[in-house]
Amino acid sequence: MLKKSVITLLTCAVTGTTPALSAAAVTAPTASPSTTSTAKTIVANTPEATITALDAALIKSMQGGSRLGYSGRYRIVAPVVQSAFDYPQIASLTLGAYWKKLSPEQQKEFFGVLADYTAATYAARFDSYNGERFAIMRSETLHPGTEGVFSTFTEHNGKVHRFDYILQKQGDQWRIVNVFADGVSDLALKRAEYTETVQKKGFAALVAHLKAQIAGYAKGSQ
């Protein structure tokens, strides 16, 4: 179950700039009418569409739970997660100055592993469903070419978590470059963790750790 802290969201509509809001929610089909989707039209190639697709995949993964097993959940989540995030951008921002010291092959390897690690983490942690729901509260242009989509995740016990997604347009698709979970920046965490690890143990150790973690999720999750 996606337990408290690390989660993500979903939902709908509108153009891609300016404050466009509407509370659309992604919940299970059995959720009460008051909390279910307010029938928004999801416009393709909008920041909201990216988040909607991600949240829908996560809900599906949670509902599949142990019936699907880790591998089944991974198959649901991985394609969506791989396209929803801008991994080359995240990888370069995460490693900072060290990124430019890597060869193109190493850079490619790193953002590939990062993408797989993200998908594996989602598949491992979104593993059961108990009425949790995602909802997009609003979206906003933070800077030309950079959008914020502000959403919530409500646990079965009523605790509401905030997920603020920052997206930038790559080609014709809006992709996530950072997520704030209850005010905690994923990019800041990764940057602090990864740069210290690279400095103390080296790039190969960082990649090896991520690969071991992916293997651990596959082995340890039901």
Binding site: M1, K3, K4, S5, V6, Q89, S92, L93, G96, T121, R125, L142, H143, P144, G145, T146, G148, N157, G158, K159, V160, R162, D164, I166, Q168, K169, Q170, G171, V177, N178, F180, D182, G183, V184, S185, L187, A188, L189, R191, A192, E193, Y194, T195, E196, T197, L206, H209, L210, Q213, G216
Partner: protein
């Protein structure tokens, strides 16, 4: 009796909480690294590893056994009761921060669950859409302008700061164990609280342990979340954009910015 109440509450605090209460960094991506923000790292790191070891070898096995021998509804009920007894600490701090609406919601949640939820056994407030907030005296002091002070990892308790230390005492006086007059009841309550904490917080602790650098992950997450709570959930635009590569004016996307940059390099 009162003294043993204090003692037991202290033990509960100590043993119960390898938790990850909320948190916050003021520094953002760059500042999160090490030094000036973590002057006590030489003490904090060993303490962090001690706490993780205690979780691995004591709390986690106990929580696993608890999960094995109890049905879901029992664990849910126990978890609800302990969440409910935490509410006075939360709504008192809501009001101390001048957050009246949040305080009324938390007070209502406490009353509804205590009365209609049979002492908190059932989470009735959830059906009334009364949200469940986090709060602490450390957050209150932050709202009042008290600086965080050095980051601390407390034995058994976990992430904290100099500013958060008075909150530990406050949790004792707002918790039920302090007011019990029966020592066996205090022991039972304390023990159950520890087991429940291990069960409830297990996923969070495992998330820390799964991190590439668990100590750095927890410190940064705690500090960032603490700041988030102090700001009342407000995250500024500057914070949201911090650390990103932003397209310059005229280029609406990072793609165009990169192309613009490349063409400038080619045509100085």
């Amino acid at each position: 009796m009162m003294r043993s109440g204090v003692y037991l509450s202290g033990v509960m605090l100590a043993l119960g909480m390898l938790t990850l209460p909320g948190c916050a960094t003021v520094n953002g991506p760059q500042g999160a690294a090490e030094t000036p923000a973590d002057p006590l790292a030489a003490i904090n790191r060993p303490m962090f590893h001690l706490n993780m070891g205690l979780y691995d070898y004591v709390l986690e096995p106990v929580a696993t056994g608890y999960k094995t021998v109890t049905p879901d509804f029992v664990r849910e009920g126990v978890s609800n009761v302990f969440a409910n007894v935490d509410m006075p600490y939360i709504f008192i701090n809501d009001f101390l921060q001048g957050r009246g609406q949040q305080g009324m919601e938390d007070l209502s949640r406490f009353l509804v669950n205590s009365v209609f939820g049979l002492g908190g056994l059932f989470n009735v407030a959830n059906r009334l859409d009364l949200p469940n907030h986090e709060n602490s005296l450390g957050v209150t002091l932050g709202v009042w302008g008290v600086p965080q002070g050095p980051y601390l990892v407390l034995p058994f308790y976990g992430p904290s700061s100099l500013r958060s230390l008075p909150g530990l005492a406050m949790t004792i006086f707002t918790g039920p164990a302090y007011y019990l007059t029966s020592a066996p009841a205090q022991y039972a309550l304390t023990g159950m609280g520890i087991i429940n904490k291990g069960y409830v917080e297990g996923p969070n602790i495992r998330m820390v342990q799964d991190a590439v650098n668990p100590y750095v992950f927890m410190r940064n997450a705690w500090e960032q979340h603490e700041q988030y709570l102090i700001s009342g959930g407000a995250v500024s635009k500057n914070q949201l954009l911090e650390g990103l590569q932003l397209p310059p004016p005229g280029a609406s996307t990072p793609d165009q910015a990169a192309q613009s940059h490349e063409s400038k390099k080619g045509n100085p």
